[in-house]
């Protein structure tokens, strides 16, 4: 947070005497019509259990002599369509502990004997209670709720946290339809804000205007912006969405600059050009990487005797990831002096990765920080360098002629495999004049390679071995799972996934060597492998855990599809058929293309003597698809599952 900017503004305003502004934000309560209460089906979404009829907020930036705050007056009207929507009548509104909530009221409206009946909630039935050290909530339940009831609540809140920096974040979309959502924001023209509208930004209509109001005993020109949305559909989760943050329709404000009368414009938020200098000056970022003298001895010891830079990087990466425990907190600024982190052996992602950079530099390796936003945090804006959008930092390392992005928060992950959460387009390299955007990836894949060797006996029973190579993310996931569940737990898990198999034996190789692929070998019998159908013997070579259901079953899609990392899966099945049987039919080879060079699936099936050899190679090279391209992804998977359901038909040879 730009804490130092607060001081600048407060010093300016403390010279001027305090005048508290009367609340001029008002939204009338109780304006419910007969039409509102008719409970006619809402055409765009007749299946909705409840509908937000209107959500209106009026927010003004104010100053009380001590601090800035935003006064928000909000009024919400909800219609309960059917009894499944009754939960929407139990309200819990979250706030920060420092916010001041007042003027709250709520009523249920019903039609009774042809008249509109209002049942209000008595003041004593509103509860404000702490929900954590920094948050509290306003809780109340609407009385007398029926199908068709309209519930209305309104309140005024004085938002205290970083009010001048962020004004009032506002969500236009909810998990039920919103018929109308409107936010009116006003603030003195001294303040210049950047707005980020995420989700379906085109649905948000902005009507800017201005008026004159009194702010601190002075007549000030006040900017008034009205943001308006109508018939916003309910937000529904879909599989392979990178971040709800990007998809939910909402608005965020960020103070970009301040321009007081008589002073020049002062940028609050830097541009990408000036960002590097800003951050490198900070104690919890740039300066932290220079105060690493305590690491010198370790750095030299670890890198001594090693020839290549990559070897040095691996060794130092192993040291830091093994020594400092990541506490799960994602940040790009350190939480304490790095020496303290080193002694405590615990830190956030910045503590760890900036320490990594410091140590690499001491070993003579070029390393610089890349700041980024993680996938669930949403995309960064390449035009606006708002500090608040970043929440992570990685090391950008140059070793033996190659560049790597390195993260040291997990001892199980190899140095050149990023956490999946970091695969989010591009991050910003902070390196003085060489600062630029870099793609957030090394060459990670979600990859598996499976070889299945089966032998069929004279009774048509199948047994054999499944050998799977897991690389990059897949390998990391296995290592993680085994660390948590142990080998017995992992075997339990295998047995419940592969219910069609009797697992006799299993082994996992290379669990400890994090740079190598994990190799899993399972010895199996397939239960009822071959079906005798009259004179034919039917067998499908793709076992239960392999074939399955598609995540893309829905007919349409609202949000883009994001796989994160490219996918590459290979399966080879070799079946040895006894001489007492012959192969009559086998699946034909096929190539299925995802289209536009984004990926392909190759299937081959050949016989050679008494052996059947099948191979299937699935690739998805492009990781991001717009929602409009959904149907080709759906068809791709459907085609693959269809192919892998085909049968091998055998017959018994005449004696």
């Amino acid at each position: 947070m730009n804490k130092f900017n607060f001081l600048v503004l407060i010093i300016f305003f403390s010279i001027v005497p305090v005048v508290t502004l009367k609340a001029q934000n008002k939204i009338p309560f109780g304006r419910i019509s007969f039409e509102d209460l008719e409970n006619k089906p809402y055409k765009p979404d007749p299946g909705a259990d409840a509908i937000i009829l209107s959500d209106e907020g009026t927010a003004s930036l104010k100053y009380n002599g001590n601090e800035f705050y935003v006064e928000l007056v909000r009024d919400v009207k909800i219609r309960i369509v059917n009894s499944r929507g009754f939960d929407y009548a139990n309200i819990e509104l979250p706030f920060s502990s420092r916010d001041i909530i007042k003027n709250y009221r709520a009523s249920t409206f019903n039609i009774r004997s042809g008249e509109i009946l209002e049942t209000s909630i008595p003041k004593k039935d509103f509860i404000i209670d702490n929900t954590s050290k920094r948050t509290k909530a306003l809780k109340f339940n609407f009385p007398d709720v029926r199908e068709g009831s309209v519930l209305e609540y309104s309140y005024t809140v004085l938002l205290k946290n970083y009010a001048v920096n962020i004004l009032v974040p506002w969500e236009f979309q909810a998990d039920i339809p919103v018929v109308k959502s409107m936010l009116t924001v006003s603030y003195p023209e001294y303040f210049i804000y950047k707005t980020i509208i995420s989700g379906s930004a085109l649905s948000v209509v902005n009507t800017p205007s201005y008026r004159t109001s009194v702010f601190h005993k002075q007549n000030v020109r006040t900017n008034v912006n009205i943001y308006h949305v109508e018939d916003m559909p309910a937000f529904r989760e879909e599989p392979y969405v990178k971040s709800k943050n990007d998809c939910l329709t909402k608005i965020n404000f960020e103070l970009a600059a301040v321009s007081f009368p008589g002073s020049s414009l002062e940028r609050i938020n830097p541009t990408y050009e000036t960002l590097s200098d800003e951050l490198l000056k900070r104690n919890d970022f740039g300066q932290a990487m220079t105060k690493t003298g305590f690491l010198k001895k370790d750095a030299l010891k670890l890198s001594s005797g090693l020839s290549g830079d990559i070897e040095k990087v691996k060794k130092i990466h192993e040291f830091i990831s093994g020594k400092i425990l990541w506490n799960g907190v994602e940040d790009f600024m350190t939480s304490a002096p790095l020496k303290k982190i080193y002694l405590k052996e615990k830190g956030n992602s910045a503590d760890i990765n900036l320490m990594l950079i410091g140590m690499l530099r001491l070993a003579g390796i070029k390393a610089d920080p890349v700041i980024l936003s993680t996938r669930s945090n949403g995309s960064i804006n390449p035009y606006s360098a708002m500090i608040r959008q970043f929440n992570y930092v990685l090391a950008y390392v140059y070793a033996d002629g190659q560049y790597f992005l390195v993260d040291a928060t997990d001892p199980l992950r190899p140095f050149n495999v990023l956490p999946f959460e970091c695969l989010n387009d591009a991050g910003r390299l902070i390196a003085g004049s060489s600062s630029r955007f870099v793609d957030l990836k090394n060459s990670e894949k979600n990859g598996t390679s499976t070889v299945i060797n089966l032998v069929m006996d004279d009774d048509a029973c199948m047994s054999g071995e499944i050998k799977t190579h897991y690389s990059d993310f897949s390998a990391y996931n296995i290592r993680k799972q085994v660390t948590i569940e142990g080998r017995e737990g992992y075997l339990d898990h295998l047995k419940s996934s592969y219910t069609e198999l009797e697992i006799n034996d299993f082994s996992l190789e290379n669990l400890e060597a994090r740079d190598l692929d994990v190799i899993e070998t399972i010895n199996i019998n397939i239960i009822n492998a071959v079906q005798k159908a009259g004179g034919s013997y039917l067998f499908n070579p793709f076992l239960s855990a392999v074939s399955g259901k598609s995540a893309f079953w829905q007919e349409t899609r609202n949000f883009p599809i994001d796989f994160g990392a490219p996918v590459e899966d290979r399966i080879v099945v070799k079946i040895t058929v006894p001489s007492t049987f012959s192969v009559v039919e086998k699946p034909a080879g096929k190539v299925i293309s995802l289209g536009k060079g984004d990926g392909s699936y190759e299937f081959r099936c050949e016989t050679s003597g008494n052996e059947i050899l099948i191979s299937a190679h699935l690739k998805i090279d492009n990781t991001f698809f717009e929602a409009s391209e959904y149907s080709r992804i759906r068809e791709y998977y459907s085609g693959i599952l269809q192919k892998q359901a085909e049968l091998i038909v055998m017959s018994k040879n005449e004696e």
Binding site: G47, S83, K133, N141, P143, T483, E485, G534, E646, L647
Partner: protein
């Protein structure tokens, strides 16, 4: 065993001192867990808890948050926490300033006394040990602490124990299950001390099967003989006496505003018989109120006033039952507030008088066909109980005290899912047609949960996950209900199933089943079928032109102690008619019986995977 000493922090918990067998399959190891429950009087006790758990990995994260519930009749004190590293050295100490206090409920005004004290332990490098202790002083007692010696399948236990100190003149009643060590009881200073201690309990494999496994967790259940709660004295000498206490604490809370009484009188004035009157009043209550889950855990045995529910239109299960009781009373109909244990797996122990209940329903006794009402549902038909409250021992709270009764349940044949379908198979592997499913008995309940008032999109989602097909187009969805005392729900839809069949040059292969039974693993486990039910499929498949049926699997008809499985294939011209009946009886399948049960299930799993073969004719 001596009582818990106060010198708790001199102990260390090095990781290496944990025996290897306790580390297998475990995400955490309980090093020690001790409870000292000192009873001072019928309404007075002090509970001291001390627990040390070594966390082995991220799956043990839940232990990092200590939550202690309390209310008007209990006070928490002396919360202290400690963290030890792998070697057993102290890493951090937590005290009262780290404790956070908040309400235990969301919204609502009836029971705002329920609160929580929270202590959050920060993360450290695994393995590390957290240790905590605290004390609760009770000024009202209804329940004595019960004790499960093992928290979860993936948590092993080095040592766990509970000690009850009972003053002379008072009696401790108890029963225990699956323990290795018998209870130890001594008399000291005129007090009787009962101690239970178990050691070395390893973690076990928890199975993910469609039929619920039964794990025999070692436990102790204790209860008072005489007790005092909220100023009311009571006894657990018999269900009658306990019921009497519940009656006393809840009496005279049935006053209704005059407008309500007038409403009731008007409602029933046109109805001839009692049954119809009760139905009208129940449906009136369903329309007027909704359920708000306010009550959690300890305390609150007393219902809110009926007038409050009349005014607000919401309440928890007790309040809604009491409100309905009051409405019936205004119509001159007698009914009983009834306590039951709502659970899909277990029931109360009828032979041990104790507060084992977690739900309230209403019983309206009739000469024939007593009426039972679930008052928390706005949608259930009249006289319909959820499966989790059916076939349970229930305590009727009458003016003469408590009377044990049994809630009714549907018979196996009434719990029916009947599916009918008519499909045409194409040569491109697509099967399209119509399907209708009728759900009755307890299956009606799950059908309404999945389909009633849902958008077509939501229904498609439920259908997709319930069937074995991976590429479905669903359209023409129609859902309807027949809301009688033995209700049913019907779902109809049009399906176009891609990837339905595979083919080669001359033949088409397909499987006629809608859902497939999974194979059961080899290792025996104790299972329980709680709900007897029947699923019955009758699907007609129209064979494409120029094809005839070459192979149909043999018919199967098995009947045994576990149930019945029938699989029949018939041919009528170019139509293949497939019939499948799967009946499961209510059974307790012990580890000894597991293999024969598994053989039964695996026969079905095999049959469900058999394919039918069509062959192209000369043309």
């Amino acid at each position: 065993m001596a009582a818990i000493t106060s010198n708790v922090f001199s102990q260390l918990y090095p990781f290496d001192s944990i025996p290897d067998n306790l580390k297998n399959r475990a995400s955490a190891v309980v090093r020690t867990e001790q409870c000292l429950f000192t009873i001072k009087g019928p309404g007075n006790a002090v509970m001291k808890i001390k627990k040390a758990v070594t966390l082995l990995n991220e799956n043990a994260t839940a232990y990092r948050l200590l939550q202690i519930m309390y209310d008007k009749y209990s006070k928490v004190s002396g919360i202290r926490g400690m963290i030890y590293d792998q070697k057993g050295n102290i890493a951090e100490a937590l005290g009262p300033s780290d404790v956070f206090d908040m309400s235990a409920i969301s919204g609502g005004t009836f029971y705002s006394d329920d609160r929580l004290k929270l202590l959050y332990f920060p993360i450290y490098k695994y393995p590390y040990t957290i240790e905590y202790e605290y004390e609760i002083t009770f000024s009202s007692l209804l329940n004595y602490p019960s004790w499960n010696f093992q928290d979860a399948p993936d948590v092993s236990v080095q040592k766990s124990g509970i000690q009850y100190v009972v003053p002379s003149g008072m009696k401790l009643r108890y029963y225990d299950e699956y323990l290795k060590n018998p209870v130890d009881s001594v008399i000291l200073d005129n007090k009787k001390i009962y101690t239970w201690q178990e050691e070395n309990i390893p973690a076990y494999e928890s199975r993910d099967v469609s039929i619920r496994p039964v794990y025999d967790i070692p436990s102790v259940n204790a209860a008072p003989l005489d007790f005092e709660y909220a100023g009311f004295s009571g006894s657990m000498r018999s269900w009658k006496e306990f019921g009497n206490w519940v009656y006393e604490i809840n009496r005279d809370r049935d006053e209704l505003p005059q407008s309500e009484i007038d409403n009731v009188r008007k409602l029933v004035s046109e109805e001839p018989g009692t049954r119809e009157k009760v139905k009208r009043i129940y449906e009136y209550m369903q329309l007027k109120t909704r359920y708000v889950s306010i009550q959690i855990g300890i305390g609150g045995y007393r219902t809110a006033e009926a007038s409050a529910v009349a005014r607000n239109g919401f309440g928890d299960c007790k309040a809604l039952v009491n409100y309905t009781y009051s409405l019936l009373k205004a119509a001159g109909i007698k009914s009983f507030y009834t306590l039951v244990r709502q659970s899909s797996v277990s029931d109360i122990n009828k032979d041990f008088v104790n507060n084992q209940f977690n739900h309230a329903i209403l019983c309206v006794p009739q000469a024939e066909d007593t009426i039972w009402l679930e008052c928390t549902s706005q949608t259930y038909p009249f006289n319909y109980l959820s499966s989790s409250t059916s076939n349970k021992n229930a305590l009727l709270i009458t003016p003469e005290g408590g009377i044990m009764a049994k809630t009714p349940s549907f018979k196996k044949e009434q719990n029916l899912i009947r599916r009918e379908g008519n499909f045409s198979i194409s040569t491109q592997g697509i099967s399209s047609g119509r399907m209708s499913s009728i759900y009755s008995g307890h299956h009606y309940e799950s059908a309404t949960f999945r389909y009633a008032m849902q958008s077509e999109d939501e229904i498609k989602r439920s259908l997709y996950s319930g069937m074995r097909f991976n590429d479905l187009d669903i359209s023409g969805v129609k859902y309807s209900e027949r809301k009688t005392e033995n209700p049913s729900a019907e779902l109809e839809c049009q399906l176009a199933i891609k990837n339905f069949s595979t083919s080669d040059a001359a033949r088409i292969y397909f499987s006629p089943v809608i859902s497939v039974q999974d194979y059961f693993q080899e290792k025996p486990v104790h299972l329980k079928v709680v709900l007897a039910s029947v699923s019955c499929d009758s699907i007609a498949y129209n064979v494409p032109q120029n094809y005839v049926i070459e192979y149909m699997p043999p018919d199967i008809d098995i009947e045994n102690e576990f149930g019945r499985f029938v699989c029949k294939f018939e041919q009528e011209h170019e139509v293949l008619i497939f019939r499948r009946i799967f009946e499961l009886n209510e059974s307790d399948i012990t580890a000894e019986k597991y293999n024969s049960f598994r053989a039964f299930i695996n026969t079905i799993a095999k049959a469900d995977r058999e394919k039918i073969v069509l062959v192209r004719t000369g043309g």
